[in-house]
């Protein structure tokens, strides 16, 4: 492992923003489960690691009347143990639970997963279907961005030099609303998704779908929100035919490539299967809710 120049662990957001905005080669460090591995692989180190885990705003999970506020550097393990979050956003928390392995979960953060900008990131699709927004602090102040607009390409995000993702905020789900996320990996764990799909559905008292969101991952340069798949669900009772129409819409929206993790044809097919199944699971969950 090459030697780095410096390590800083600021205790305030302002200090972190200043460190990052004054040095273009500094990199924020949350769990480090991507950053350190990349540094080792490329033998290229940032000038300074700016450790975010001592900044109160970046660590912790709160569930209130408005919904969820998740510090960007909060570890996956902490989130997965939060019973109320698990109850309200079962799909999102399951997606977070898929990050790495048990050991990695103690460090890996959702904010890091998002900022890494991988189209195959396990948490992004679930954040999107739950209408999550990222709270960004920068030299020019604070702003929020919908997660579906956060990633702009493989490894690229809307973050500008000096910007820092502080938190993710997720609105509280409406009544009879639930989500689900599924990914396809050839193995049972320790793998990267060849395709992923998340769905969130809202039912009325009669079981008719009144709102839905579908997002797919690893099948385009970024995770995609697929309105056509949601439209196929809205107005239906989420019967098999509706789920299949959503699957077809997801497959149609996918723009995958051939690579070592799967062929384009394969990914286009299975992202539909995952969409159908995820929407089905979300529907089951929503029906079980008061």
């Amino acid at each position: 492992m090459p030697q780095t120049q410096a390590y800083e662990a600021p205790r305030t957001l302002a200090d972190a923003v200043r460190l990052l905005s004054t040095d273009g080669h500094a990199r924020p460090l949350a769990g480090g489960t991507d950053l350190l591995v990349q540094s080792r692989a490329t033998q290229k180190l940032p000038s300074t690691f700016v450790d975010l885990k001592r900044i109160p705003e970046l660590v912790g999970i709160e569930v209130g009347p408005d919904g969820l506020r998740l510090g960007a550097a909060t570890s996956a393990a902490v989130i997965c143990e939060h019973a109320e979050a698990r109850r309200l956003w079962p799909g999102l928390v399951e997606a977070i639970g898929l990050l790495g392995s048990t050991q990695i979960q103690g460090r890996a953060s959702v904010g890091g997963n998002l900022c890494n900008g991988s189209p195959a990131a396990d948490t992004t699709c679930s954040l999107i279907v739950n209408r999550a927004r990222g709270v960004i602090a920068g030299a020019k102040g604070e702003r929020t961005v919908e997660v579906e607009r956060f990633t702009t390409g493989p490894g690229r995000t809307v973050l500008e030099p000096g910007d820092l993702l502080v938190a993710l905020v997720v609105p509280r789900p409406a009544a009879r609303t639930a989500d689900a996320y599924l990914r396809l990996i050839p193995r049972s764990e320790m793998d990267i998704a060849a395709a992923g799909a998340a769905a969130s559905v809202t039912l009325d008292e009669r079981g008719v779908c009144t709102a839905a969101r579908v997002a797919i991952g690893a099948v385009a340069p970024t995770a995609l929100l697929v309105p056509a798949a949601a439209d196929a669900l809205i107005g239906s009772r989420l019967d098999d035919a509706a789920l299949r129409r959503a699957a077809d819409a997801a497959s149609a929206a996918a723009r995958p490539i051939d690579d070592k993790r799967g062929t384009a044809v394969y990914r286009k097919t299975v992202v539909g299967v995952l969409t159908r199944r995820a929407a089905g699971i979300a529907a089951e969950r929503a029906r079980a809710r008061p």
Binding site: L184, P186, D191, K260, Y266, V273
Partner: protein
């Protein structure tokens, strides 16, 4: 000796291994754990091209950097035609040296072309970047079909096909060897068949996937004495290879083996050691070289990708009447694939009167293959056992029944030549047929298809050369010293053998793997030979010590030594001397200094081939037909092991071999782009199974004693990787009705085939 009735007191028990606690608590020292004062860190420059002529290498900028103490290139490794005999196979030291540092051509992506030693890893890698290598890229030859094409680029000028080339074979060739096995009249045989199945199979290049990357430290003393610390399967072979490659006297090289984090055959060749020695010689400082995981995938030896055509003919009653097979194996950059072994194993399990099996060893622009657990056999068994499965289905026969009907037995002439002695194939198949797994109903989960497959496997097992000593301490404990790195629990097995012969409790026997200066010659830990052959040396050494102990008892009792016997770890008085209380080893040891001094028993063996062994595997596989994702849900390994010295580690070998074979069947493969660049040189995308991918693998130990060994031991470690490829593919067929002829059965391939099936 009849072992059927032999009872054991220690052999067959399951004590904790002597090296276990250090390993599970992180205290054991592996190859990368060694450090010496003043040690330099090496970095190897590797070719970015799969095939290129090396026009020039300019090392001046690197040499001028502060902290850089030595730079070496191919010109520091003499070209040689020397061979090193290792058992049956001769290691081509010229090729091994050229593989360690290329002379004229880079023959695969990752081929080492230069190396640097510097005072820190950062300086070494920066200096490596400063080395200017000018390449003239050539078209890469990436697989069997490309290598055999009439207009194929030739990797090695002057290569001639050894063995039995076909009369019309081209003179400029990438075929290093062609061999064949024949018997009877093939045409007549097939003419008499009621069912003939012919298929062509492919298997991908796969890596052993040992957890510990290659690593070594070399020191070149001012007196010219060389010491190497390394992770290897055979330090004597490292010594002799380095001596031959570098043209230095082996008497000046001492090799000290570290603990080894897996090898499976892949840690038999040398890669880093000659380079580290060359750097240390130039730098006058010790040099450490460690491969990254990417280096291991790109530049150490995986096993061959293959293309295999099999044709099998059977009568309606099930008897096999004719078989033909053509095996094409990728050797990588230099000659030496296990095609020949594949050919010998292909139909070894069956008694077939007419056959022709031919094998081709083919060079391609991929890393030179190394041995991998029963090298050559798994791919051959995948092809043949898939066809056997298909014959069974065509004839409506139970697949185990069909195999039993055609199974070789003692006295049959093996397809590869000699007559079989006592072998356990029928016992293994009978046990598989009676196993509850074979009879259990298949119950699919909702939305899944489930299938069951079975397959056989064969491996020769090696014998070769071993040395051992057993020395007694005055407290009645003992050392047992051998020269084989312990990969599979061989130390505790050797300690158990000493316990058995001398009656010393196993925890009071210290098994030691000594360096090349401290014990007689030992061939590599490979070929499933250590528990068998080195075990024979240990038993003989213990019996030598036992004879000396009897003489000491005779001295104490003042009787002729003929009147002293040995029973259950004690000297007992026989006929003329009766009436005397037996003397235990502890009692005899306490008097060592009064009866003649210390006792060392020693023995060497030149063991013949270790007695062939067979296994049969049963696999239940569940398939998601919408995604092509499959999972092994139940798996049983049945194997003839001769005699299980430490049953836990025998079972561990059976489970480990099966796990590797399942990975080979389902997801592992080298993925290259068109330019010959490896796309997945890491465990994330080179998908070996993780623990949660596999069920607990059930094992059934069959013991048909091997008459060549005093306890009946057969080699164990290699057989279990032979059947899984076919067992999994046959289960996939059972589940989906699709006969897969190309591995791996990765989800995209499976889904594509299911769509085609409709």
């Amino acid at each position: 000796m009849s072992t059927a009735t032999k009872t054991f007191e220690h052999v067959g028990t399951r004590p904790i291994r002597h090296d276990g606690l250090d390993k599970v608590t992180g205290r054991a020292n592996y190859g990368a754990d060694y450090a010496l004062p003043g040690m330099l860190h090496g970095y190897v420059v590797r070719s970015p091209h799969a095939h290129a002529r090396i026009v020039s290498i300019d090392t001046s900028a690197a040499e001028a950097m502060a902290g850089v103490k030595a730079v070496v290139t191919g010109s520091d490794i003499p070209k040689t035609n020397a061979k090193l005999v290792m058992g049956e196979a001769a290691l081509d030291l010229g090729a091994m040296g050229d593989n360690a540092l290329a002379h004229d051509k880079a023959l695969y992506e990752g081929h080492a072309v230069a190396a640097v030693a510097a005072t820190s890893p950062e300086i070494a890698s920066a200096a490596a970047e400063a080395i200017r290598v000018v390449y003239e890229p050539l078209q890469p030859v990436m697989n069997v079909d490309q290598a055999l094409a009439p207009d194929a680029l030739i990797l090695h000028d002057g290569m001639v096909t050894k063995g039995r080339p076909k009369p019309d074979a081209p003179t400029r060739t990438n075929v290093a060897l062609r061999m064949e096995l024949t018997r009877g009249d093939l045409d007549k045989g097939f003419a008499g068949a009621d069912v003939v199945i012919e298929r062509t199979f492919t298997t991908p290049m796969v890596h052993q996937g040992y957890i510990e990357p290659h690593a070594c430290v070399a020191r070149w003393g001012e007196d010219g004495q060389v010491v190497v610390w390394t992770s290897t399967q055979g330090h004597f072979v490292v010594r002799d290879c380095c001596a031959g490659i570098l043209g230095i006297d082996a008497a000046r090289i001492k090799v000290i083996p570290s603990e080894i984090g897996g090898g499976f055959g892949g840690k038999i060749p040398v890669y880093l050691e000659p380079v580290a020695i060359a750097l240390a010689r130039k730098a006058h400082r010790p040099v450490k070289l460690v491969m990254s995981r990417e280096d291991v995938f790109r530049a150490s030896g995986p096993t061959s990708g293959t293309k295999i055509r099999v044709k099998l003919g059977a009568k309606k009653d099930g008897s096999f009447v004719a078989a033909s097979a053509s095996l094409y194996y990728e050797a990588g950059a230099y000659a030496g694939s296990p095609a020949g072994a594949g050919a010998m194993c292909a139909i070894a399990a069956y008694d077939i009167p007419n056959f022709l099996v031919e094998a081709y060893d083919i060079v391609v622009n991929r890393p030179k293959v190394a041995a991998y657990r029963a090298p050559g056999a798994p791919a051959a068994a995948f092809a043949v056992e898939s066809v056997v499965d298909e014959v069974a289905r065509r004839l409506g026969k139970d697949p185990i029944e069909l195999r039993l009907q055609n199974a070789v037995r003692e006295g049959d002439q093996a397809a590869y030549g000699p007559e079989f002695g006592p072998i356990g194939l029928r016992e293994v198949l009978e046990a598989a047929r009676c196993h509850p797994h074979w009879k259990a109903p298949l119950v699919p989960q909702p939305g899944r298809k489930v299938g069951r497959g079975v397959a056989c496997g064969f491996w020769f097992n090696a014998g070769l050369n071993s040395s051992a000593t057993v020395s007694l301490s005055a407290d009645g404990s003992a050392n047992v010293v051998t020269g084989n790195p312990d990969i599979g629990g061989t130390r505790v097995a050797q300690a158990l053998m000493v316990s058995e012969e001398l009656g010393i409790p196993v925890e009071r026997v210290r098994p030691i793997v000594a360096d090349t200066d401290s014990i007689g010659y030992n061939d590599v830990t490979g070929g499933s030979r250590v528990c068998y052959a080195t075990g024979m040396a240990v038993i003989e050494a213990a019996r030598d010590a036992q004879a000396q102990l009897r003489a000491r008892a005779a001295k104490i009792w003042d009787v002729p030594v003929e009147q002293v016997g040995w029973e259950r770890g004690r000297a007992i008085a026989l006929n003329g001397a009766s009436g005397r209380e037996p003397l235990t080893v502890s009692e005899l040891a306490a008097k060592l200094m009064h009866t003649g001094g210390p006792i060392i028993g020693s023995a060497t063996v030149n063991a013949p081939m270790a007695g062939p062994a067979f296994g049969a595997h049963i696999c239940d596989l569940e398939v998601d037909e919408d995604t092509g994702v499959s999972r092994v849900v139940r798996y049983t390994v049945v194997q003839d092991v001769g005699k299980a010295v430490h049953p836990s580690y025998v079972e561990g070998q059976m489970q480990g071999g099966a796990s590797q074979g399942i990975g080979w069947a389902l997801n592992e493969e080298y993925v290259y782009d068109a330019e010959g660049h490896l796309q997945n040189p890491g465990f994330l995308d080179y998908r070996m199974p993780v623990a949660s991918d596999l069920p607990m693998i059930d094992t059934v130990i069959i013991e048909v004693a091997n008459p060549l060994h005093p306890y009946g031991v057969r080699g164990v470690g290699e057989v279990p990787i032979v059947p899984p490829l076919a067992a999994v593919a046959n289960a996939m067929h059972d589940a989906t009705r699709v006969r897969f002829t190309a591995l791996p059965l990765s989800p995209p391939r499976v889904l594509a085939a299911l769509k085609q099936r409709g």
